[in-house]
Amino acid sequence: MTTALRVPPTQGFGRRISTALLLRPKLLLALLLLPPLLWLGVIYLGSMLALLIQSFFSIDEFSGMIQRSLTLRTYGELLRPAHLDIILRTAAMAAAVTLASAVLAFPIAYYMARYASGRAKTVFYLAVMLPLWSSYLVRVYAWKLILAKEGIVTWIAAELGVENWLEALLSIPVIGGAALSVSYIGTFTVFVYIWLPFMILPIQAALERVPQSMIEASADLGAPPHRTFRNVILPLAFPGVVAGSIFTFSLTLGDYIIPQIIGSSRLFLGQVVYIQQGTAGNIPLAAAFCVVPIVVMSIYLSAAKRLGAFDAL
């Protein structure tokens, strides 16, 4: 072994390159960063910027041709009542989904972080990760089966003799509909179902980091468990909730598949973007609609950063 070490270093081409790079760490750094930066910077950011520029173009109402001169007309169109309705409806749905996910996710995350250990913890972890990574479309499809008029929800309601409750739920204006699968209640349920794991994991991570000693200290100082929960655990878990809400909010804002498969005929933002760029051929308006989630998410992200959500990711 010692003889191997005494072999003088070969002065091959490869070694000269590696020495050169070792002596110039900045060059090495640049070489490492160049391919990923080129890819993401040119392909991704480049096309994103191209899209944003197109939002300042406008479409000629008579010929349907895109006029390539800078104008704010398309943004003016965005502020029409019908379009504003769509934006507000989407934002309201995203907020409702986020709130419901947080409420459902918290007990699961809390149990995982504070009571499950060893094998149980692995099982819980897998149980949360698997739906997150299993097929999005298949999971949406499952709800098409569940919420169909002839499906399992109706059957269970009939077995329990509570059909009239279901009727009452569906007859609520705006959120109701002919069947669960064509109502906002359905859309909302599916959104919550699909994004729930994104909320569980950051909350669990935040709760894991609450030191046991702090909870004991709170108890030693005479706080009953519910006060420890409210004054110690909840504030420390809050950044995790905010981190999770970034995902649930952003994903709901941009999704156009779920409301298309399960939902009423009133459109969400993503669907409008899809229609405007596709069949309607109005790229400037589609681009202007795209700016909405970007702006909303930038505000959201900077607020989240202030609340310390990024440390919880």
């Binding site: 070490l5 270093p9 390159i17 590696s18 020495t19 790079l21 070792l22 760490p25 750094l29 490492l32 930066l37 993401l40 910077g41 392909i43 991704y44 950011l45 480049g46 096309s47 994103m48 191209a50 459902l104 996710a105 007990p107 699961i108 809390y110 009571y115 250990s117 972890y125 897998l126 149980a127 990760m129 698997l130 990574w133 299993s134 097929s135 999005y136 479309l137 499809y141 499952a142 709800w143 089966l145 002839e150 499906g151 059957w155 179902y193 794991p197 952003s250 941009g254 999704d255 156009y256 598949i257 298309q260 498969i261 993503g270 973007v273 760029q277 589609a286 795209c290 989630p293 970007i294």
Partner: protein
């Protein structure tokens, strides 16, 4: 330190809420399994009027399904390879050094999954249109690789941070050059992280539908096939069978990836016990 967690007993309401939450996450998938055997082919009637294995045979003979699976595998394999290369390069650069603009680069890497997929999709589509690039398998891969990079990056960068830089210095001191150090010291250490990141990237690409609807021309990946069936159902039981197939195919590598990630994390922690 972990053992006291087991001694504590969870309040009953909490256990019920946690278990109900998990059931909410898993029962719908179990239901699909049941429907794949249903004899009913025109509606989603529950309970199924009868059970049959027929639809598996029908699905097996459908060439369009096989074509879609083959295309999805091809796209996922290529974009995973690109993502593994770009992601580990970025991870190597970002883990050790601090430099101006570092924060913006890490933001740039996570942006494709932080922003709604529809933005990536429509931007790429309009850019391809502007550039006169026709839609093909290549444009699908290009889109997929863009958001797969972050999966590999996240896993590998975490591993790089745990690897002491003294190991690289030791290797160099012992006379290895940069390439030998990479081959014998760096690569074995990041291998499992790279593998887990690659698996996640593969799963992400295999399942992706939103960006794909924008970057595909006439090509039908498996998710696109599913989407078409969901919007305009032709043969519902066949869709059920394909859904079961997709669940089976994605669960296996995910369980492996999870166990692998857990095990390697476990070894680094087990030094304390």
């Amino acid at each position: 330190m972990r053992s006291d967690a087991a001694k504590r007993k969870a309040p009953r309401a909490l256990s019920i809420a946690a278990i109900a939450g998990l059931l909410f996450l898993h029962l719908p998938l179990a239901l699909i399994l049941l429907y794949a055997f249903s004899t009913e082919d025109a509606s989603y009637e529950f309970p199924p009027p009868g059970l049959t294995l027929r639809w598996f045979a029908v699905a097996w003979d459908r060439q369009d399904i096989w074509d879609a699976i083959a295309l999805s595998l091809r796209v996922a394999a290529s974009s995973t390879l690109i993502a593994m290369l770009l992601g580990s390069l970025a991870a190597a650069a970002m883990s050790r050094t601090r430099f101006f603009g570092r924060e913006s680069i890490s933001l740039l890497i996570i942006l494709p999954i932080a922003l709604p997929g529809i933005l990536t999709g429509i931007s790429l589509r309009s850019a391809f249109n502007l550039g006169g690039i026709s839609f093909s398998v290549w444009t699908i891969m290009l889109g997929h690789a863009t958001f797969c990079v972050v999966m590999v990056y996240n896993n590998v960068v975490a591993r790089f941070r745990r690897m002491p830089s003294s190991w690289i210095e030791a290797s160099m001191d012992l006379g290895a050059d940069g390439f030998q150090t990479f081959r014998h010291v760096v690569l074995p250490n990041i291998a499992t992280a790279l593998l887990v990141g690659g698996m996640l990237a593969f799963a992400l690409s295999f399942d992706e539908v939103i960006v794909t609807t924008f970057t595909a021309g006439q090509q039908t990946t498996l998710p696109i096939w599913m989407l078409t069936e969901l919007v305009r159902p032709r043969q519902r039981p066949v869709t059920n069978v394909v859904a079961v197939f997709v669940i089976a195919v994605t669960f296996a590598p995910l369980v492996v990836a999870q166990l692998l990630a857990r095990r390697t994390e476990g070894t680094s922690e087990s030094g304390l016990r």
